[in-house]
């Protein structure tokens, strides 16, 4: 039972970090970012980059954030900035970007699997059961990140500015919001959180150029269920999606777990297309 609860916490918190970037880019900027999973993938490749360049381990995070930020900024300035307000076009364009990113990574690192050494090895005793120490550390890091984000979100006007910008770009500009800079910053920030999720997950998952799709799909499910535009919605969505898979996977089978996730997502799309919480509509 303890393991189930710990697994649940792990699944929910990691999915929350993975989906956060999509919640910002899709939920706030209205860019249906099909390349979201590829930013998770690039983040997961950061340790591969540092080890292939012979860099020390502590550079993994800077390398991850700089790489993801540069790629995201380049794409935003060249392609994404023309697609605000054109959701369907953004879906097609980012799908193409996703393919491009996969191919670039494949060209650089090959099609094969990569492995990343876990920085904190071993298991610890949690209420009488052995649990990987690294997972516990990661959960704490994610909790701290979300705490900071929630605090900042409450104090800062940025969320309101983004809402204004997406709702009426001309008016937003007229009241002095630098929409170009704001949208680029929001896109890059969203992609960086995805990259960081990839980096944190890297020692616990398979790493290959095509790994991103799993994370994209689960993130979309979470947003469909939770609703766009708020941290609360994101929290509810990831809890329902990750929780359903974990609990049904544990008590029945993984097949039924996945089936339940799909059913849940379809029911929400059909009966409650705005999700549980939707603050931006």
């Amino acid at each position: 039972m303890t393991v189930l609860i710990l697994n649940l916490i792990w699944q929910i918190s990691t999915l929350a970090l993975v989906a956060l970037g999509l919640a910002i880019v899709f939920g706030k900027l209205r860019i249906m970012n099909m390349a979201h999973g590829e930013f998770v993938m690039i983040g997961a490749y950061a340790p591969v980059i540092t080890s292939s360049l012979g860099l020390p381990m502590w550079l993994q995070l800077p390398v991850c954030l700089v790489t993801v930020a540069l790629v995201a900024l380049f794409l935003e300035r060249t392609i994404i900035q023309h697609l605000y307000g054109r959701m369907f076009d953004s879906l097609l364009a980012t799908w193409g970007i996703a393919i491009l990113l996969r191919e670039v990574v494949e060209l650089l690192f090959g099609r094969g699997y990569q492995s990343v050494k876990v920085p904190i090895a071993g298991t610890v005793d949690v209420f009488g059961t052995q649990y990987p120490l690294y997972r516990i550390v990661v959960v704490f890091v994610i909790l701290v990140c979300f705490g900071a984000l929630a605090w900042w979100n409450r104090r800062s006007k940025v969320a309101t500015q983004i809402k204004a910008m997406v709702g009426n770009p001309e008016l937003a500009q007229a009241v002095g919001i630098n929409t170009e800079r704001l949208s680029a910053a929001a896109f890059v920030f969203g992609c960086c959180t995805a990259g960081m999720a990839g980096l944190l997950l890297a020692p616990t998952i398979r790493i290959e150029p095509v790994m991103g799709i799993d994370y994209l799909i689960r993130s979309f499910f979470a947003l469909v269920v939770g609703g766009l535009g708020s941290l609360e919605g994101l929290g509810l969505g990831v809890t329902l999606i990750a929780g359903t898979q974990s609990v049904i996977g544990a008590f029945a089978s993984q097949t039924y777990g996945y089936l339940a996730v799909l059913t849940l997502s379809i029911l929400f799309l059909w009966l409650k297309p705005d999700g549980i919480r939707s603050s931006s509509r």
């Binding site: 094969g112 492995s115 050494k117 298991t123 616990t204 996977g249 993984q254």
Partner: protein, 382 residues
Amino acid sequence: MVNKTLRLLASTSLVAMMVAGTAQADIKIGVLVPDSGPAGLFGPSTRNAAELAAQKINADGGINGEQIELVFADVGVPPAEAAQAALRLWKGEGVQAFVGMHDSAVREALLGRFNGQVPYVYTPVYEGGACADGLYVTGETPSQQLAPVIPYLMDVENVSKWYLIGHDYNWPRDTNALAKGYIDEAGGEVVGEEYLPFSVAEFDSSLQRIKTSGADAVLITLVGGGSVGFNVSFSGFGMDTQAIRLGTLIEENTLAGIGANNTKRLFSTSGYFSSIKGEAAATFATDYAEAFGADAPALNTLGQSSYEGLMLLDALAEKAGSLDVVAMDAAAEGLTWTTPRGENTLTGRHMAQTIYLADGSSGAFEVVTSFASVASSESCSN
């Protein structure tokens, strides 16, 4: 798409170079490789191994004195498309024989088209059960991989409680059906059996089940990325102290993805590892590195199998005196030939071969023991 085009360009230029280097080829052989799709990872090594085989065959005087030329097609696509691609090679380009490294669905589609009219060697590890005129199989079947290995591991590693986990399709299910028999015969028991959909990327609940089952051995028939993810989590939870792991398709790429820190007490059974000893295997590995460079795609049982397939085709066509299916079918039973894998015999259209058990604990496969001339329980009659 860009990728496919590039690959196609690269491969055609390679073939062009090879043709330019040899005399005018007399026989065209179609080599069916997965350039795309789930097995796309194995495309490059499969192509390379086939190139090496063609060089060797031509250097030794070709097939029945005629030089051969390889023509490749991508079969990492849906079965109907793969069959179309093979048909183009056969009817369009005049290919006289096929060697294929692809999944079973594609094989069945091809057999429907070939209809015993053209010799066809099927080379990857597979679940067994394929019989047809003109079809010869070199890949390991579950009986070969498990019949000698399960009792050996139970004895040497002192384990008896097996948990069987695989992806939900016929290869894992057929493998486990046989495995249960071998485990039972050796006095062990199966304490759990589980099949996962391909869409599952986290294995927490499965690991929990394995833990509570008290298993001291896990038979893994997950493939590709699923196998990597499962094994990484398995070690992350420290389960490698509870149970040994045995995989029937954990090859060099998968092992690299799992990573040296997560491979403690992880075994793999296969007809080929890049680290197997023996003169033929060593020569093969050296030739491979020389021809394709140090950064060449890692050798593995699937990629290397295209070499085995071409060598079987060569040996069988030499014995039959032609590439005629009726003559080859008649000559098939009892054919013996030597390859990097060792001494092989064709029995019931399947390849009796040496089976190697390797330990991946160090992060690279070290062969623990080998079993010579293991015949498949699969048997096709003439």
